[in-house]
């Protein structure tokens, strides 16, 4: 794998192969010494133009468990905040000998631009670009679903026939987009539920179903309910009248959680707004995978770094 930029272009076999490697990586996490020598001597740069402590430390842990050297480059307080361009930053990192760049950027498409620019030769992992994609989040979500469904027999399995309902700010969500492509590639059926203002104006190109009514979606008994975070800035921009009204209409409250099929799982990419999109009872229940998602995130990112940095590169 040369880069990991989007889940749209990943094939079913590629996805399963990556998830299977992540299973091997998860086994490492269960050992007393949680470290492999695989990427010794390789340098991974976490290039974060947006704050995201969770994603950054997850990638950092993944790289360190594979014995890579990790450099954290945060845009705040750096040359970037003094007006340095993406091009100059990339060329600087290239000159320092980065082997892989994990990029989080506020602009959709920035990782693709970086990968195609010729500014840097390193492998690029998209750690979230604007409102476009967040591929490793979708991979860890798929991994988590597969493990819940198949346990230790997960290797080699896809998500054929699994029904996944994703609820919340679809319009601005890179998690929703990456999950749409990956989960459907793996055979799952995805439906989105949101206020009409938080769905894209034209969803005709998305292989999914769409609804406005969370109660109907709950009563349909999906295998998975994934609640998305509502960003603070949406609350003041008339996407919905008030946080209370949002919670009433689209929050996974105790009453809806009680109606949910007994073996449905509840997911959230974090960080959660408890009491807004998800109640504490739902978040803390045994059906919630929130902490598993965090743990699996490290395994999946180890697998991605491994595929990017070990072995022959396709273009070399």
């Amino acid at each position: 794998m040369r880069h990991l930029l989007s889940t749209k272009t990943i094939t079913r076999d590629e996805a399963i192969a990556l998830l299977d490697i992540a299973e091997d990586m998860a086994d490492v996490a269960g050992r007393e010494v949680k470290k492999l020598p695989t990427l010794r001597g390789k340098t991974v740069v976490n290039l974060f133009f947006e704050d995201s402590t969770r994603t950054r430390i997850s990638f950092e842990a993944a790289a360190k468990r594979l014995s890579a050297d990790v450099i954290n480059f945060s845009a705040k307080g750096s040359s970037v905040s003094k007006g340095e361009s993406l091009k100059d930053t990339a060329q600087t990192l290239s000159a320092m000998g980065a082997d892989a760049v994990v990029i989080r950027h506020h602009a959709s498409g920035a990782p693709l631009v970086l990968a195609q620019s010729g500014w840097i030769d390193a492998g690029i992992i998209n750690a979230g670009d604007g409102t476009h994609e967040h591929p490793t989040q979708a991979l860890l979500d798929a991994f988590t679903i597969r493990r819940r469904l198949h346990g230790t027999a997960s290797r080699g399995k896809d998500l054929d026939g699994v029904t996944v309902t994703i609820v919340g700010d679809i319009l601005h969500s890179r998690v929703a987009r990456s999950n749409l492509w990956l989960l459907t590639t793996l055979g799952a059926r995805v439906s989105f539920v949101a206020p009409p203002t938080l769905l894209p104006a034209d969803t005709s190109a998305w292989p999914a179903t769409f609804g406005f009514d969370l109660d109907t979606a709950i009563d349909a008994g999906p295998d998975v309910v994934m609640m998305l975070r509502i960003q603070a800035e949406r609350m003041s921009a008339s996407f919905f009248p008030s946080p209370r009204e949002y919670a009433r209409g689209w929050g996974l409250n105790d009453e809806r959680f009680a109606r949910l099929r007994a073996d449905s799982i509840v997911m959230h990419p974090g960080p959660m707004n408890r009491g807004l999109e998800i109640s504490s009872a739902a978040a803390d229940s045994a059906r919630s995978t929130v902490l598993e998602q965090v743990a699996n995130g490290v395994s999946v990112r180890m697998a991605a770094l491994y595929l990017l940095l070990s072995g022959d590169r396709e273009d070399s």
């Binding site: 749209k8 361009s85 670009d129 476009h132 994609e133 894209p200 104006a201």
Partner: protein, 455 residues
Amino acid sequence: MPKENAARQEYLIRGATLPDGSRTDIVLAGGRIAELGSGLSRAGAATVDADGLIALPGLVDLHTHLREPGSEQSETVLTGSQAAARGGFTSVFAMANTSPVQDTAGVVEQVLALGEQAGYVTVQPIGAVTVGLAGERLAELGAMAASRARVRVFSDDGFCVADPLIMRRALEYVKAFDGVIAQHAQEPRLTEKAQMNEGALSAELGLTGWPAVAEESIIARDVLLAEHVGSRLHVCHVSTAGSVDVIRWAKARGIDVTAEVTPHHLLLTEELVVGYDARFKVNPPLRRREDVEALRAGLADGTIDIVATDHAPHPVEAKDCEWDAAANGMVGLESALSVVHASVVAGGHLDWADVARVLSHTPARIGRLAGQGRRTEVGAPAELTLYDPAASRVFGTADLSGKGVNSPYLSMTLPGRVQATFHHGHPTVLDGALRPAAEIAAARLAQTQWERRHG
């Protein structure tokens, strides 16, 4: 005097094809078309073989960004004029979003003077509608109209005159001197942080959408305002099928509205945004295939009056970056005629007489620009473009003569080539190559002196 001789060099263009398809020789003398007919001869005239070439009236661009004063790293009046000449233009209307803004008589006269010094084309300044393009109070429209620049077209292009009362007042006020408001139709609230056409593709790419309704609603409001106050309205860079419908309705109702479309909106679609290559970032954004088809049909049936380039040069770093950070705009002067050829002539929407209309006669008329956009007849000013419709080329940076290389057509194969451009009877482009700046400036100076002496 040798300078005068250069300016008074006469030209015999042999065997050109006029837009109506007829074949003729053309003699250019004294800055005018002196003779038309077959088998002409002229002692002392330089001969230009125009066999197989179409002789179009010099092209007129109603929508050019020359960037000077203020952004000389992007373009100057001289380099923009050179780009224009290379594209077959003999006149450009220079948009007002310079720095300082062209919102006073002083600035528009400065731009006019820079154009005269460069000498490649007639540079006709456009005046800002509002002070500093801020949309809050009217600029001194009358002073700009009465200045030596004789401004008749006013536009805040880059920004929409969004305040309906300011728009009404502007439309009314310019009636005093036969002016026109050229509106950049973009409802600002509906396009906050907009990055590309809003639709299925923007949903996938995660780019904030620029909905068609943000253009169409402003055009609808403005044509009704123009009707109410009995004024003349021009709509810049129409980009959507719905806008074509609104303008068609307005014209059927007798409203005095004209509209332009850019070459890039006639040829390119939003699919090009998929790779986040910022060369394709432009405002209004590239639209859907259906919109492109509607724009072509609208141009063919006269709903859209003209093609204007919206030539928008930028330095390399403004495009060599992530999509959100990139500047809007494309250079378009050098490629305009070839793109019109490829998009609407090749498909049969327009013939060459229509091209002469939409790229010369009508833009000159809308802008009230004397001496430009005239038919090719004896006595008319010698403003002429010779175009080779049989040529074909892979468009590259060598085809660009301005400072900007932000062309969306690089490495695309385009038909045709501008072989020669004559401005005031003097070639600014000959054998497909731009003439040197010193020669053009000298010819321009000598022409001016000759005109003063001979009236």
